[in-house]
Amino acid sequence: MTDHRVAKRYAEALFNVAQRNDVVKNVDADLLAIANQLKNDPSFRSFLYSPKVSREDKTRILEKLFSDRVTIATMYLLRLLLAKRRESEIEAIQEEFEALRRGYAKAVLVTYTSAQELPDAQRKKLVDKTTKVTGRSVEALFEVDPSLIGGVKIEYEDVMLDGTVRGNLDKLRGRLQYDLFKNA
């Protein structure tokens, strides 16, 4: 079980170090790569989280895997987490680090979900409009969900702007059911 307070402290420390050395983007990319590896590779995940594998073995293998691919700061973080038996916090640290990075860069992660793949021009238009709406730089993530039927849905932080056919139909359905029950 991850403890976000712990993850936040590690992320803040790492962010400060990365900022001093001007490697914030690199560290962010390293952490994202490691998190993706953990997400997509169950054997790597079970190896890293296994209590049967000794710390020395984990350190040795992680160094072999990542020492020439990640920054020194990231490698140092990995060694520290293993020494403190906090390797299960890696994914939470990555999320917290990303949040810190975005906060510092005054950026916002915006997810655009559409029923069909959007053309580049429309993507750009969406990002520009969202930048104006949020007043911050946008890190765009485009996804496709055919169940939305048509239109696009925008999500960032706690905000959701739903312009999909599915969303409008759901709203209409809810209003109709409410009216039916109210008049029953």
């Binding site: 559409s114 029923a115 069909q116 959007l118 053309p119 429309q122 238009k125 969406l126 409009k129 969202t130 104006k132 709406v133 007043g135 039927i149 048509g150 239109g151 696009v152 702007l161 312009g163 056919v165 599915r166 139909l169 209409l172 359905r173 109709l176 059911q177 039916l180 029950f181 029953a184």
Partner: protein
């Protein structure tokens, strides 16, 4: 009550009474015997004298001396019979009569006692019957009251159950109607979605996205 009849010594008293009676009998016997022997003596002494055979009695062959002697013998025998037969027989009869009288008296007493007991028993029986009737009547009244109470409770409960059943039926009806409406809405919207999905092409989708982008509200001052 004499000292002879003392209840503490009934055997001794009886014996004494027997002895006294025996002595009295001996006295009576003696008198009879003495009188008998006197007459026998007179008869024997007068035997052969002329006056013992008067002319009047000669045709019948009677002799007064012999007659007097016979009378003495009869008297002596009468005493013996009186003492040894008649008196005990009479006493026995008297005792028997007395015993019978006592028995009858006792029977009468018992009869009276039984009659009293019967009267008392009948009175008690009547009282008991009356009490039993009263108790039965009270039990019947109580049972009727209980029956009425139970029937009233049962009726109230039945009414309550009926009311609850009606409410439940109404609630269930409303629930089913709601489900039905919801189902109808779902079916309608599913059909609509399918229809829109079939009809919606890329151009329409792009137009929808464009409209959405145009309608996105930009905060003032941005």
């Amino acid at each position: 009550m004499s000292h002879l009849d003392h209840p503490k010594t009934p055997v001794r008293a009886s014996r004494r009474r027997h002895l006294i009676r025996g002595a009295a009998n001996v006295g009576v016997l003696g008198r009879y015997i003495v009188a008998g022997f006197v007459l026998i003596g007179v008869g024997v002494a007068c035997k052969g004298q002329a006056w013992t055979q008067p002319e009047l009695l000669k045709p019948m062959g009677l002799d007064l001396a012999i007659t007097i002697t016979n009378m003495g013998i009869f008297l002596a025998f009468a005493g013996v019979i009186n003492v040894f037969y008649y008196t005990p027989f009479k006493e026995s009869m008297d005792a028997r009569n007395h015993e019978l009288e006592a028995t009858f008296t006792e029977a009468e007493n018992l009869k009276k006692e039984m009659a009293e007991l019967r009267t008392s028993y009948e009175a008690r029986l009547a009282a008991t019957e009356a009490e039993a009737r009263e108790q039965i009547q009270a039990q019947i009244r109580e049972a009727q009251h209980l029956r009425q109470t139970l029937m009233a409770e049962a009726a109230a409960r039945a009414d309550d159950l009926l009311r609850k059943a009606e409410l439940e039926t109404e609630a269930e009806k409303q629930r089913v109607m709601g489900e039905l409406r919801s189902h109808v809405v779902d079916l309608t919207f599913n059909a609509t979605e399918r229809l829109i999905g079939e009809k919606l092409d890329s151009a329409t989708n792009r137009r929808l996205v464009e409209q959405f982008i145009d309608n996105m509200a930009v905060p003032s001052g941005s």
